[in-house]
Subunit: 701 residues, 2 copies
């Protein structure tokens, strides 16, 4: 670990250069704000604000105890035998893939009462970060003196080569990461586990109690937990660094920390980029996916099997829609954008005030605007054709990967599309060949939907639309290719994967044919995007990051990148328009809140256990830590590093956290350890699990 350090003296020096400016600029980070990298954790500030000394040892132990679920979540080791605690909603894919029309694990819940009963999750991968390496200098050397497009290419090449060299040298998974929008580049080294098995998952109705209406709300009552176990060579992996649980949970006002892999924030975007999100990206996403929600809800009405196939998918969609809706509303609030404009103007004034900085960085903001402007005329075509917006289908995704892999694998690794480089092929193969069930009727529905939306947005006279649909309607094309493909059979995919180019060229599979037909156009649009948009934006963002370091020092944190971060804060509620929201909920209230019908329906196990449960057991809690999607499943720990909560959500104000952190309102929502233990013990009777967690059962029989 080799962090770039700028001493506090330097910070103050630079601040004093722009004293007037500095007083107006955003404070380095207020209160609990900040998703900090482990190498730049603000220990001094935490000591001052919370009275907690965070040691390097403590951080190292938290790093080894925190896992990344490659599907987009976080977990923590809960025993020395590879047991991983994460959210229930992080294993929905696994639960669905292990279910059938005969056995609906989502509805029934799952518990492996012996190790033999633990079921492998198709395609699931879990990683642990072992170390990081700063490669900013290597990237800088490779891109120096090049124009934007060449630099973009060189940057990718260099990072790809560094990844490959790292993997060769360490036998680990190595991933390049751009921090501070390109202000720093790192290699992250992970130990990756491919054999991940389901140990325990409660029923969906209690895990997601309140469904979409309660999502991002608090007070809250969700048992959003599950256990996985990582295996190697058929045996549980030894994980000596795990988190002990503090069953009674934290006190109100107590300092807490959250480690995990927040997915993505956009706090360092320029105003032009935020405006593009507001004016185009977010509205398009929302309009499209609200309509998809309507389709899926209505399709679910056609029978119990459709219901089973889409219920979790709808919940995921609901979640994403709520997030995007509130993000849009936060950007539509002109006060927020005005604050961003003021911050940007001040940073630019800081740059303009120093001739060297002005020369090096002054044009960067305008460069981004220009690139976004250049994107305008082909943005929709790029989104629908090249980024796959028109092809919402698992089968099509496989087909395109097979078609492209066959072509790309004939080239030297460095010349390939990024996602087909040698370092990526293993993961891709596993994804492609995993025995995931496919629902053809649903595939046809979503593919028809996305083709229809493509035609709506691009217009029937767009050349790509005409080429793709010809005299077909979206429905005809979707039906034909779904009926004419065998890619739902993993064995068929394997043969095409192994058969390479000749197998792909010879294939008469309708989905493969469609992918072959789209591929050239999609590549051309992608290449244009990379040259005209991605490259200049990447170059300009790097320069803005350097400008920010120069003006503000490094005591700020990078945007989330689905890499390991730690955030600190305290357990506390908030003031909601004059109403005080308390930080804890208790079990008793869920029984008053239940209606007998989704999404406020309690599963039978809970209805039956009502009298056995201690009603005063704490259920969910909130803290003012700074998290975002990807932190799902994150451990919330106390100063000793003991688990005091399982993060599963934020409150409604946390959604705007993608762009702005509001310490007064933004809250993390977690499952309390007490309700996990109470229900494992008295409802699910998971003796084996409780013993592994070091808890004696209190249940009476």
């Amino acid at each position: 670990v080799s962090p770039p350090t700028v001493s506090r003296a330097t910070w103050y020096h630079q601040a004093s250069l722009f004293l007037l400016l500095a007083t107006l600029l955003p404070a380095p980070a207020t209160a609990a704000e900040g998703m900090w990298t482990f190498d730049n954790f603000p220990s001094a500030r935490v000591s001052e604000e919370l009275g907690v000394e965070v040691s390097a040892d403590w951080l190292a132990r938290m790093q080894r105890s925190t896992a990344r679920l490659e599907g987009g979540c976080t977990g923590s080791f809960a025993s020395p035998e590879g047991l991983v605690l994460t959210n229930n909603h992080c294993v929905w894919g696994c639960v669905r893939n292990l279910s059938s029309s005969e056995r609906n694990l989502s509805e029934e819940g799952f518990y492996a009462s012996t190790q033999e009963e633990e079921l492998r999750c198709p395609g699931e991968q879990v990683s642990v970060l072992l170390g990081t390496q700063d490669v900013t200098r290597e990237v800088g050397a490779a891109t120096a003196g090049k124009d934007d497009e060449a630099a973009n290419e060189a940057r990718k090449q260099t990072l790809g080569e560094l990844e490959r060299a790292c993997e060769r040298d360490t036998n680990l998974e190595c991933e390049a990461v751009a921090l501070y929008a390109g202000g720093q580049y790192f290699l992250y080294r992970y130990r990756r586990f491919e054999d991940v098995r389901l140990v325990f998952a409660p029923e969906l109705p209690i895990a997601a109690f309140g469904g979409d209406p309660d999502n991002f709300e608090f007070p809250r009552y969700c048992l959003d937990m599950s256990f996985l176990r990582v295996y190697e060579d058929g045996k549980p992996v030894s994980t000596p660094d795990f988190l002990e649980w503090r069953f009674e949970g934290p006190a109100a006002g107590e300092p807490v920390f959250v480690t995990g892999h927040p997915g993505s924030t956009q706090r360092l975007l320029t105003v032009a980029q935020l405006e593009r999100l507001r004016n185009s990206t977010l509205p398009q996403y929302l309009l499209r996916n609200h309509e998809l929600r309507g389709r899926l809800l209505q399709w679910a009405e056609t029978g119990p099997e459709p219901q089973r196939l889409v219920s979790q998918r709808i919940l995921n969609l609901d979640n994403a829609l709520k997030v995007m809706r509130h993000r849009l509303f936060s950007l539509l609030d002109d006060r927020n954008l005005e604050r961003k404009r003021a911050e940007e103007a001040q940073l630019r004034a800081g740059v303009a005030a120093d001739p060297d900085l002005a020369r090096a960085y002054g044009s960067a903001w305008g460069d981004i605007e220009k690139a976004l402007h250049a994107y305008g005329p082909f943005a929709d075509q790029h989104a629908w054709i090249a980024s796959g917006g028109a092809f919402q289908s698992t089968l099509y995704g496989w087909a395109l990967s097979l078609v492209r892999a066959a072509e790309e694998r004939e080239k030297p690794s460095a010349d390939r599309l990024e996602e087909y480089r040698d370092s990526e092929l293993g993961g891709l193969e596993r994804q492609l060949l995993a025995p995931v069930p496919v629902a053809n009727e649903l595939e046809a529905l979503t593919l028809e939907f996305s083709l229809d939306k493509m035609r709506e947005w691009l217009g029937p006279d767009d050349p790509y639309v005409r080429k793709l649909l010809g005299n077909d309607s979206p429905k005809e094309l979707a039906t034909r290719v779904v009926q004419g493909t065998r890619l739902d059979d993993p064995e068929v995919r394997r043969r095409l994967w192994e058969g390479g180019r000749s197998a792909i060229v010879a294939s008469e599979d309708a989905m493969i044919e469609l992918a072959r037909r789209v591929d050239a156009d999609a590549r051309a649009l992608r290449a244009r995007y990379e040259a005209e948009v991605e490259a200049p934006v990447a170059a300009a963002a790097e320069r803005i990051a350097r400008a920010r370091f120069a003006v503000l020092g490094t005591s700020h944190y990078p945007d989330a990148t689905f890499t390991l971060r730690v955030t600190y804060g305290t357990v506390r509620g908030w003031d909601e328009k004059g109403t005080t929201i308390e930080p804890f909920t208790e079990i008793a209230r869920i029984f008053e809140r239940a209606t007998g019908d989704d999404p406020f329906r309690l599963p039978p196990s809970w209805q039956q256990a009502r009298t056995r449960l201690d009603g005063s057991t704490r259920f969910n809690l909130v803290a003012d830590t700074d998290i975002i999607g990807g932190n799902s499943g994150s451990p919330m720990v106390d100063r000793e590093g003991r688990l005091v909560g399982l993060v599963f959500d934020g409150n409604i104000h946390s959604i705007a956290g993608a762009y702005f952190f509001d310490p007064e309102l933004n809250r993390t929502v977690a499952v309390h350890p007490a309700v996990m233990v109470e229900s494992l013990d008295k409802i699910y009777r998971t003796r084996r699990l409780l013993e592994e967690l070091g808890i004696a059962s209190k249940a009476e029989n």
Copy 2:
């Protein structure tokens, strides 16, 4: 007709007072901009710009030849025997109500080859404007010296009394109209026809060829026409003022006029009001209704009968979604709002520069902001509960009308909710008792959907939501009330209507019970809205209108209010990003464009007629007249007043016309008379109709 007149001299005088200002202020109206009232038509300007002299006689004849379809469209008389030309999409409701699972008139089309075969459209009403009266002074006298809330009440009372007195005196339908957002008040007197029959409608696939993808696009190929006939006492009404058709249509560049009833524009709104549309009203509308679209599309997949029941409804929804989407995008374009801000700032500067104006009007903009701010905390509850957002159901609408009418009719007319005043009861009764078929499955679907959305937006803990749903899910409640109602039977509605309060109180009809349960809360929210939002906004808008007259004179036009207007312009295409769009399309191209599948499917009649048709016949055309929804079915006429087009749409740029008119891009789209005659003759063989139109058939057999 007694228009407020401000002489040109006065205009110049006022302009010179604010000379600098006047040069920056929006020109009184550029090029073809303006939906002019007949009493304020800019004849001098038209003479100057187009070289056409428009006489009072010409205007009077156009007024008597133009009809209003109370469902929200325009029509024109096409013969002396009450024959009305309008759009096909204006009679979809009628066509659906006259169809059954056995006979799908939408798909088959309809032609009454004898007068006896003409079918009455349930609930359809057609009106002709006979005269208008300025009552601004009477309203001003009634509201003078009152606070906003009392003035709001007095204004409604006065207008209601004026309407009633007018109807008593004239035996006509009288409607009060606020022009210039309250700058003027008028009474409009209509002759209304209640017996409206369907004469001719082509098949939906040709009327709406291109469906949603082509909607608001051009080049275009829609035979969006139909004929109705108005009857009185069982006989066709005599309409000596009708429009002759100029079958060859207009030349490119020729001056044309459009008369009709544009529904609503918001060009005079303040910036604060536009921001509310952008930030709240439009996004909420779009998110909600895109999801409904998904539901309806998927429900239509469940069988031919659902397909028949919702196909036109989906097209209507598509249309509304496209409109609202492009309106939102126009407001998200900061350049547009900046222009509005600049205009508003300049008008306010003009007011501030004169102490008298400043005292009278200076605070009006701030008052609107305050009222919108006051609306915030209960806006969602008002929209969902009081405005009926939660109750998307025809049956529920009837139930609420019955419940309220029973209570209101016991009060003196002046004390009632506006829509239950004596002047409204006749129309309400006809609406309620019209034999409109109801699809219960669809009713349950839309009601469940809207209840679900209500819970989503208000949250499950909102007191109205808890009171309404209790332990029910939206689906349970919707299913129960739809199953438990008999309101689908017009006879049941009639008994409840005639039975009055005692019948309503005694009713055990589930929908009536629901309406009874909601009514008090809905009334309370409505009263709060009227007091805290509507009243201050109405008062402030009146003052802004007066300020605008004071600073700008009256040579501007009021926002559209579904009252008679006339707009002028020329037949011309436009420049679309460097491509010249020609103003005419021809028949030949539609056959190349057809795909055999919706929405690009030609009906069998057209497929069979291909060789008989003259391919060079003009199909659709565009002109730069200024129209909006409500103008559907409007006649486009030449300087002689001969029909040269049937307005049915605008181009994509016309959508932003709700807020801003862009003379370079905004275009009206019309059906050419040539394609109407060609198809009536060679495809539909409507001899009787052609004779009535004064055309000899050219068809060979």
